[in-house]
Symmetry: D3
Subunit: 167 residues, 6 copies
C-alpha cells in the first residue's frame, strides 16, 4: 500500500504527522509531496516537515490513497491547477481521498465533492455546502472513497476509517 | 460618517490599518470591533490592534459602512451567528460592505453575495463562485453597496472606491 | 486500558501526541499529567498541550502503562521526587514504562534501568550506560515491562510494541 | 509626482506602509529604497517590505519628496554618509522632507533641522532640541518644506499635510 | 560598594548582565531597577531580567555608582522625569555614571554631558555632540566620574575602568 | 594565556559570554569554537555568537584552559568523538576544564569525571553521580584542574576560580 500526503507552509502539524506515522505503523509506504522536493515546510505550530517529492511529479497511478491535511496550507495549494488535477484523478479512480479540517478546500476546488457526504472544520462548512457537499457534524464521515474529519481531535477516527478502506 | 471595521486574531495587518487610518484622514469616525472590547489582537505579521468595542454590542444603524479585512481572521468570525447577522443588516440597509482578500468569506457565510459581482483573494475564488457571486479579477470591484479587492496591493483602489461611496 | 503520559515545557511534540492519539485509536483512555492541571505547555516546536491532570495527584494503581516523551521536558521533571516515585511504582508493579528519545532521563533518575536492555537518543546513551542499562541501537527495545525508542521516526515501532504489551 | 521612502531593518510598519499606499492612492509614483535593492526588510512588528532600489543609486533630482519612517531603522541609516548627503540635497532643493516618530534622527544627523519647527517621538525630543530644532507637541508640524509627526496615530495628519505640499 | 543598574524592555542583554555579574564578582552589591519591581524585562536578544526594585524608589545616596546599559531601553527611560532626576543627583554627587552604547541617551536627556569627554554607539554620536559632549572613538573614555563605551565588545574595558573608579 | 570555549546551537547565553568577556578583561586570548567556523549560533535565549574556529581544527596544546558552557548545546556536542577526544587531551595535560550547568555532560561522555568532585545543574546531578563523580551542591567546586558551577548565578564564582587557576 502506498499513500500520498500533501504538504505546504502552515500545514496543521498533527494532521500531517499523525496520518504519516500511523500509515507507516500499518505497513504503508508514505510519500509527502510539496511544491519543492527537499524543502522544509513549517507547520501552523512550527513543526518542520521536509517534502519527499515534488507535487508536479506525482502520478496518482503510483498511489492507493491521498491524504489532505488542514491548517492554512490548503488555501495556497487549492490555487494550483496541478494539485486539483491530481485530486480529480484520485477521484476518477475511486481511490480514497482523506481530507481533514481545512483540507476540504482542495477537493472543493477540484470539484469532486458534489453530492458527497462530508465533514470538515466549522470554518469551511459553508464552503462545503456551497460546493454541493452534504455536510455532517461527525468525527469522521465516509462516503464511497471519500473520508473526512473535522479537527486534530478526530485523528484516531480519521485514520481508523482510512486504514480500513486501504485493506 | 461612521465606519465599523472587524478585527480578530491573524487579521491582515495593512488591510485593517490602511482603511482605518485612511477613513480617519477622510474625516470619518472609525470603530474597530472584535469579540472582546479592549483586547489586543495580533495581525498575521504581528501588528497589534486593540478592539474599541465588542462585536455583539454593535448596532448597524449607528454606522454608514462596514469594512472586512482579510488574513485568517474571517475563518473564525464567519462561524459567529452574531457577525453574520450584523452583515445581513448592513446588506438589507444597502450600506457599503467593503471586503478585501479573505474578508469575502464573511459575506459568503452571511449569504449576501448571491448574484453580486465581486473580487477577492485567489484562495477564495472558488468559494465566492460557489456562493453565487460573479467573480472578476480586478483591483477593485463595486456592485451596488458591495466593494471588494484582492490583496494589500489593491488598498489604494479599495479605499478610493469606498470613500467615494461614503460621500 | 488506561495510560498516563507526562507533559512539561519543551516536550517533544510528536513523541507526546502520536502515542496519545494512537492509544485513543486503540481504545485506551489517556491522561496527560503535568505539574499543573489545566496549564498549557508548549512543545519543543511549539505545539500546545493542556495537562488533563496534576502529576502529584496521579495514582499508578489507576493506570495500565506510563509513557515518557522526550524533548527537554525530562531534564526538568527528573528533578521532581514525586515523578521519580511515580515511575518506581509503575516499575514495582511491572506495568509498561515506555520512554522515547530523552525520555529515558526520568527512568535513569528513578533508578529503574539497572540491568535493563534499552535504547534512547544518542544524546543520553552515555547516561543510560552509566545508569547500568544495556544500550542497544534499535528502533524499539522491549525488555520485560520496559519499552524504549530513539527518536520521532521510531514512533510507529514504539507504539506497536507498547500496544502489544497492553493487550 | 515621485516620492522616495527610506527602508531598513526594524522600520515602523505603518509609518512606511501608510504613506506608501496613501501616496499611490493620490497618484504618486513611490520608490522604497534600502541599502540593498531587492532585499526584504522586517518591520518593528514584523511586516515585510522589499526594497525597490538601492539607497546609493538614488538621485534626489528624480524625486519630488522624501519620506523618513520611524522605528529603529533611522538609528542605523543615520550612520550612512550617503543617506545624509541625500537628505541634504532634498533640503537644498527645498523639496518636502517628511519625517515621523524616530525618523527625525536622520535629518538631525544631516544637519538640516537648525531653526526649523518640528515634532517627533517624545523619545527624540531632546535630540531635536539639541540639534537646534524648535520642538512642538502637535500631530503634524509643517515649516517650509519640512513635515513632521510624532507617531502612527498621527499618520492621517502627516499624509494630508504631505500631499497638500505635493500639489 | 553598592551599584545601581537600569533595566527596561529591549535592554542590551550583555550590557546589563556583564556589568551586573562582574560587579558581584568584584564584591559589590548590585540593584537592578526598572519601572516596576519584580517585573521581568526582555533583552534585545531575549534574555530575561527581573527588576529587583522600582526606579521611583531609588535613592542615589544609597549607591556608589550608576550603570546605564544600551539597547533601545534608554529611548523609553529618557522620557521619565524621575530617571533624569536620579541621573542628575549621581552627577551632582560626582558618583560614577557608566553608560554604554545607546545608554548615553539618558545622560544626554539629563543634561549632564555638556563639556564632558565621552564615547557611545555610532548611532548616537551626533546626539552626544549636539548635547555638548566631546565625542571620542575609543573602547572606553573616562572623564571625571563619567565612564562610557561604544558596544558589547568594549565591556571588558568598560568594567575595568568602572571597577578602578570604585576602589 | 589562551582559552578555548565551546559553542553550538542553544548554548546558555551568559555561560558563554560572561567567561569570554571576563577572560578578555583578565588579559587572556579567547577562541570560541563550534562545528563550523564563521557560523552564527543562537543562544537558548537568542543571543548570537559567531564561532571563531572549527572544533575539529583545535589543538589542545595551543590552549591553557577549556570552558564548557551549558544550555542544551552539550546534548549535541557530547555525541562528537572529536569533542570528547579534545576534552580527554585537556584532562591528560591537567589543564583546567571549566564546565557550568549542563556543560558537565561533555566531561561525563569524555569519561574524565570518575572520582572527581564536581557540581552542575540539578538536572544532570544523577548523570554526574552515575559517571563516578562526587557531586557537591556549591556555587563552585574546584578539584585539581576541574572547575564546575551550577547555573548563571554562579558565574562570578566560576570565573574567579578559573582565573585563579590560570595565574
Amino acid at each position: 500500500q502506498s499513500v500520498l500526503i500533501l504538504v505546504g507552509e502552515i500545514y496543521e502539524d498533527l494532521e500531517l504527522w499523525y496520518p504519516k506515522l500511523r500509515l507507516i505503523e500499518a505497513g504503508a509506504a508514505v510519500t509527502v509531496a510539496g511544491k519543492e522536493a527537499g524543502r522544509e515546510y513549517a507547520g501552523k505550530n512550527g513543526y518542520p516537515c521536509v517534502a519527499d517529492a515534488s507535487l508536479d511529479q506525482m502520478d496518482p497511478a503510483a498511489f492507493d490513497a491521498l491524504v489532505v491535511p488542514g491548517g492554512f496550507m490548503p488555501d495556497k495549494l487549492r490555487r494550483e491547477a496541478g494539485v486539483l488535477d491530481l485530486v480529480r484523478r484520485f477521484d476518477a479512480a475511486k481511490k480514497p481521498i482523506a481530507a481533514i479540517c481545512h483540507g476540504g478546500w482542495i477537493p472543493i476546488s477540484a470539484g469532486v465533492y458534489r453530492g458527497v457526504r462530508v465533514t470538515g472544520s466549522p470554518g469551511i462548512k459553508d464552503d462545503l455546502i456551497n460546493a454541493g457537499a452534504l455536510y455532517e457534524d461527525a468525527a469522521v464521515v465516509v462516503d464511497g472513497h471519500h473520508v473526512s474529519s473535522r479537527r486534530p481531535d478526530d485523528l484516531p477516527d480519521f485514520c481508523r476509517a482510512l486504514i480500513e478502506r486501504l485493506r
